[in-house]
């Protein structure tokens, strides 16, 4: 499917995805990213520093959330800019994991630079975990 820049409108929904983040996801991300902070895989360490449980890497949440924009445009190389604020932690249960629901909508359109700003919402346990999650897509 090819998206026509001229047809896009601010406020338009671009779709959503549900991600199941398990402890396996965290270990895989630790290896892929090189972030081996043990609060992301050891309950005892997480508890010792006062956390409610093992947390997903913020960068994992950021990395999966943008896939909504990537899938919409079909080419990750067209994401020119991507930013998030980490507002709430995602606690990953050892058995059930954590379900992250991400949706996106068009927040702004720049006709001059032919870019679209996609605003992403990432929700876990009925709480927004990312703030100001914005991906700028080149057209």
């Amino acid at each position: 499917m090819t998206i026509k820049f001229e047809d896009l409108e601010v406020g338009q929904q671009i779709g959503g995805l549900e991600f199941l983040l398990t402890r396996d996801s965290l270990v895989r991300y630790a290896g892929a990213s090189g972030d081996f902070n043990s609060i992301h895989y050891r309950d005892d360490v997480a508890a010792a520093v006062g956390l409610p449980g093992v947390l997903a890497h913020g960068m994992l949440t950021m990395g999966v959330a943008v896939q909504v924009a990537v899938n919409w445009v079909g080419d990750s190389g067209r994401i020119a800019d991507y930013q998030v604020r980490f507002t709430k932690p995602v606690v990953v249960h050892p058995v059930d994991g954590a379900v992250l629901t991400v949706t996106g909508k068009i927040g702004a359109i720049d006709g001059e630079s032919r870019t679209v700003r996609v605003d992403l919402a990432a929700v876990y346990n009925e709480t927004a975990v990312l703030g100001k999650a914005q991906a700028v897509v080149r057209f």
Binding site: F19, S25, R28, Y29, G31, A32, S33, G34, D35, V49, G58, M59, L60, M62, G63, V64, V66, Q67, V70, N71, G74, D75, S76, G77, I79, A80, D81, Y82, Q83, V84, R85, F86, K132, A135
Partner: protein, 153 residues
């Protein structure tokens, strides 16, 4: 009143750290990272799809630059002058601004600057700006990261 020491040395604001050794972006590393962030984007995974889209090789996912940023950040966290206690660090926000996407075969170096150090009560907020360059010294991406370093409350 108890004397509290700032959790980050404010004098490191503006400090620039030397460029990191070149990091060669591997095709399988891109695939590994893409799987880890649950990407199904063909340009991340399938060489033919990437080339058909006009790229020389597999394209790295939008947050892959964190791997390069991390190498610069490690230098800062090991710097006694900055005196950042990693066990007290919380990631506040993150941004990647790309001049062009990272592709397999890129040899990247990064130069980190401490953009700002702010103190908020017992806590400090440090913003790092990491510029990532290719082998021709062309800017590929600027990664901006703010860490919150928790102090004693």
């Amino acid at each position: 009143m108890r004397q509290t020491r700032p959790v980050v040395n404010p004098n490191v604001q503006g400090k620039q750290y030397p460029a990191t050794a070149p990091y060669l972006v591997g095709r399988e590393k891109i695939r590994e990272f893409a799987h880890a962030v649950k990407s199904v984007s063909p340009v991340n995974l399938d060489l033919f799809a990437a080339q058909a889209a006009g790229y020389t090789d597999l394209v790295a996912p939008p947050t892959f630059a964190v791997v390069i940023q991390e190498r610069s950040l490690a230098t800062v966290l090991a710097d006694p002058e900055a005196a950042i206690d990693f066990s007290r660090v919380v990631h506040g926000d993150q941004r990647f601004s790309y001049v062009r996407p990272i592709v397999a075969g890129d040899e990247l170096t990064s130069v980190l600057t401490v953009a700002s150090v702010k103190t908020l009560g017992a806590h400090s907020m440090v913003t790092f700006e990491t510029e990532i360059f290719d082998i021709d010294q062309q800017l590929v991406c600027t990664a901006t990261s703010t860490l919150v370093v928790r102090g004693d409350e």
